[in-house]
């Protein structure tokens, strides 16, 4: 009962909102302002300023939301100009002429447009524009003087580098786009704006470089973006989850980043970026497994160091995935695989531990996850303390109490460290999830189970696609040309081509010795 009533209620509200949007603008200014007030339910932050212009006979008004506009601009470039206006008007034609004159000459705002429906007005006001009403005209001027408080550009928090630009995206889409523009001055950088969110009306920009990107990818991304129909998209994660290829996959099928340099280099490789207003995280598609294990620093540093970093990261990913599972299978199934001395010392250290290796490992992995979560939630200084307290004190105490063996502690600590080497947070989450799968398999069938789960993950990977691009490429389907920038990072002069798997229109990204 309750459910159905709720459903009906929802439906009614929806129709009401939609209906009210189609109202035309009247000529009578009083009526218009009343309508606006009615629609928004006369909120406190809705500012309407009525005044007269010319020789004191012509009624006019502006309306805006306090806090969304730049007040200085409003004062200097709009109000002052309007109040100093001196135009003679007698007839109705004069009013229209005056409206045009105001539109063309008097308002010194660079972005201005005419609106004819209440819908335009409310959209304009609610996204930070100011609306100008003139009595006797059934249209309004919508002036963009967006302002208000925004965050300054800071250093990226989630993707820190030793060498590389220190800028990070912010919540304002305008700033973010300008950051990309500053990196790519090519005239064919395309930014297609649309709005998402039935109610939030959030701005979304699809960015790509024409002439590089494969048009099929742009088409496919746009097609999927058009299907988005939800109330609100406060974060790019909403978009990601709506348009991704497989919702059951543990792997991220799009990359998210807050670094403008990552976005611009991806665009130049032939990918597309999805920028959403209100979040510093920009989505990059399509993405492959190899891509999310790359960090921009691999390219900023010289190639030897870059290669070392890559290899380390692959080892890190391997350890983060397999280490606890391998430990469990070695300790509970294949003791013969351990070197004799190690086997004896593990046996000695496990003497007196009450749990089987699997339970012991689970305990420690869960503890580690808890610590990690607690460290994220707490303010930074306390968060660090939690890490130290948890890592050292709990670990030490657990060993002393004989609940876990010291070797297990080493294994888990190593796993945790290895997981932090993945450059993309979303991938490190997938690794953490899959790790549990491997641990279960190891507890039941030892290394045989581990390899079967590994095979299963591979089956999943070769069937997964990110916007039509096979996720496991260039491993499979094998692209030998792309292999030199995968686990290894070849010297700069060898990386002359854009990734083959993106099937870009312009294949070469650099030319050797040609000028």
């Amino acid at each position: 009962m309750a459910r159905s009533r709720f459903g009906r209620h929802k439906k009614q509200q929806q129709t009401k909102v939609e209906a009210s949007f189609a109202i035309e603008i009247f000529k009578d200014i009083e009526q218009n302002i009343k309508n606006l007030n009615n629609m928004l339910d006369a909120p406190d932050d809705l500012m309407t300023r009525e005044f007269t212009i010319g020789h004191g006979e012509q009624q006019a008004a502006i309306a805006y939301i306090d806090g969304l506009v730049d007040k200085e601009l409003l004062q200097n470039n709009i109000l002052e100009n309007l109040q100093n206006l001196s135009v003679e008007q007698q007839s109705e034609e004069d009013v229209e002429a005056m409206f045009d004159k105001i539109y063309q000459t008097f308002i010194s705002i660079n972005k201005i447009k005419k609106g004819t429906t209440l819908d335009d007005i409310s959209n304009g006001i609610l996204s930070g524009n100011t609306v100008f009403y003139l009595d006797g005209i059934d249209a309004v001027l919508i002036m963009d003087i967006k302002g208000g408080e925004t965050r300054a550009i800071e250093q990226p928090i989630t993707e820190t580098l030793i060498r590389g630009p220190r800028t990070s995206f912010v919540e304002s889409i305008g700033t973010n786009i300008s950051l990309i523009r500053r990196n790519i001055r090519a005239p064919n950088l395309r930014l297609k704006t649309s709005q998402v969110g039935r109610r939030s009306k959030n701005n979304l920009v699809l960015a790509y470089v024409e002439g590089i990107v494969n048009p099929e990818i742009v088409q496919e991304v746009s097609r999927r973006l058009e299907t988005i129909d939800l109330d609100d998209a406060p974060e790019s994660g909403f978009i990601e989850q709506w348009i991704e290829d497989s919702f059951l996959s543990p792997f991220p099928q799009m990359m998210d980043t807050e670094r403008p340099d990552v976005v611009s280099s991806s665009l130049l490789q032939g990918k597309v970026a999805i920028i959403l207003d209100g979040t510093p995280f920009v989505l990059i598609a399509p993405t492959t497994l190899g891509d999310i294990l790359k960090s921009p620093e691999d390219y900023y540093e010289r190639w030897l160091y870059g290669t070392l970093l890559r290899v380390l990261r692959y080892i890190g990913a391997f350890l983060a995935l397999f280490l606890p599972a391998i430990y469990i299978s070695l300790v509970s199934f294949h003791q013969g695989l351990l070197p004799s001395k190690l086997a004896f010392s593990i046996a000695a250290s496990r003497e007196g531990v009450p749990f089987p290796a699997f339970v012991e490992a689970m305990l420690m992995v869960i503890t580690m996850e808890l610590l990690q979560e607690a460290g994220v939630r707490l303010p930074t200084p306390i968060g660090q303390t939690i890490g130290i307290v948890g890592g050292l004190v709990i670990g030490e105490a657990a060993v002393q109490a004989g609940i876990v063996s010291p070797v297990m502690l080493i294994v888990i600590a190593l796993t945790a460290i290895a997981a932090f080497t993945t450059p993309t947070f979303s991938l490190s989450i997938s690794l953490r999830i899959l790790r549990f799968g491997f641990m279960f398999a190891a507890a039941f069938l030892g290394l045989y189970g581990v390899i079967l789960v590994y095979v299963m993950i591979n089956i999943h990977l070769v069937n997964l696609k990110s916007f039509g691009v096979p996720y496991a490429t260039p491993f499979a389907p094998t692209m030998l040309g792309d292999m030199k920038d995968l686990v290894l990072r070849a010297p700069r002069f060898m990386l002359m081509k854009r990734p083959e798997y993106l099937q870009t229109e312009d294949e070469k990204s650099a030319n050797k010795g040609e000028k």
Partner: protein, 393 residues
């Protein structure tokens, strides 16, 4: 379609989980056997030999690890059992230790000379060490004088586990001197398959160490121990086989005792099979080394003295190898120099004809003429010419 696929994945996971874990044995419940010793009790019981198997179990907490500072207990435990099947005794032992014997870390197998002397018994006993999947082919085998289990009972001072002590001893010797050439189960298996004769390191237990007594010769065809080589003869054997980088030759030159240290030896075997009834075998041995010790005060640093010394060394080698070969031909009739293998490799057809009369039947091995030519090179005479000035004559 897609949905079905993921349901399938779910089944996979569920089944894997529901199957349970039959083979999950915690590491602390394993009884690691690190060394085994097999002795023969007197007489036969019910037509089968009565064997005594001693297993050395590791007691992990007793091992001195830096972490727990050592609990002071013994690091190993020797258990013995008797019966006629090695595997059956192993299984029986499980009831004695509360832990399942686990052989994947087995390093050493000791067999008594008595057992080796019994025809066919060694091959029978070895079967389980080749057949069982827990066993490795790299397990080292030594022969013991007297009771084999005494070897596992020694108390070495630098190692906690006797089996590991002997294992390391053999390994170091293999890398450094090659005196004690370790024999692995896999090697022995290969030898037994081709009925070849071979040498097993022969040791005797002392209180806190084992003494190396040379090698025990196992005759491939007769399938039993037929004799022993002492240390000097082992050096000779290694020289003939050309796989040594250690060992010394002591001789007198001009009334003074000189010790020559072998650094490297190469040998080249030439086989002449024109007359299968009496095969001519020529072994050329090239030895490189240095003078390690000189009694008396000769200056060796002149080419004439050195070449004379080299001649002396060559002569020494020829005599000692000659004696050894003669002894194996006459006394044991066991081809431990792998001439049979070389015949098979290089004179396949002749070998096919004579292989049943090599070290048995017509005893062609004993009848063959074996000549040794040695050539020694002294590469260095040491850092000092002499220790003291001229001596009073």
């Amino acid at each position: 379609m897609n949905k079905k696929r993921y349901l399938l994945l779910l089944y996979c996971l569920l089944i894997t989980m529901l199957t349970g874990c039959w083979d999950n044995v915690p590491i602390e419940d394993r009884g690691f056997v690190i060394g085994s010793a097999i002795d023969l009790k007197d007489g036969k019981v019910d037509g089968n030999y009565d064997l005594t198997l001693t297993n050395q179990f590791v007691v992990p907490p007793g091992l001195n690890s830096p972490m727990n500072g050592g609990s002071g207990g013994k690091a190993f435990m020797n258990l013995s059992g008797s019966g006629d099947s090695v595997f059956a005794i192993d299984q029986e032992m499980a009831s004695l230790t509360s832990k399942m014997p686990f052989f994947e870390h087995l390093k050493l197998l000791v067999v008594s000379d008595e057992l080796l002397e019994t025809p066919h018994l060694f091959a029978d006993v070895l079967d389980v060490f080749v057949r069982d999947k827990e066993m490795r082919r790299g397990v080292k085998v030594v022969a013991a004088k007297g009771e084999a289990k005494d070897i596992l009972g020694i108390q070495p001072e630098n190692e906690q586990l006797p089996a590991v002590y002997i294992n390391n001893l053999l390994e170091v010797s293999m890398k450094k001197t090659n005196l004690f050439k370790p024999m692995h189960v896999g090697d022995i298996h290969q030898m037994l398959l081709t009925n070849s004769s071979f040498i097993i390191p022969y040791v005797i237990a002392a209180k806190n160490k084992v003494d190396y007594k040379g090698g025990a010769i196992f005759h491939g065809y007769e399938d039993k121990l037929v004799g022993f080589l002492d240390e000097k003869e082992m050096t000779a054997l290694n020289l003939v086989n050309g796989d040594t980088h250690g060992g010394t030759i002591t001789f007198t030159y001009d009334g003074d005792l000189i010790t020559f240290k072998i650094n490297n030896a190469k040998s080249d075997v030439k086989l002449d099979t024109k007359d299968p009834e009496s095969i001519n075998i020529t072994v050329d041995i090239g030895v490189e080394g240095g003078i390690a010790e000189v009694f008396g005060n000769k200056n060796l640093n002149n080419s004439q003295t050195l070449s004379e010394i080299e001649k002396e060394i060559s002569k020494q080698i020829e005599t000692m190898t000659g004696q050894t070969i003669a002894r194996t031909q006459k006394e044991m009739n066991a081809d431990i120099f792998a001439f049979d293998q070389k015949l098979n490799e290089r004179h396949y057809h002749t070998w096919q004809k004579i292989k049943d009369n090599w070290d048995h039947g017509e005893n062609l091995f004993a009848k063959s003429n074996i000549r040794v030519n040695a050539k020694a090179h002294v590469r260095t005479a040491g850092a000092s010419e002499k220790v003291e000035g001229n001596r009073k004559e």
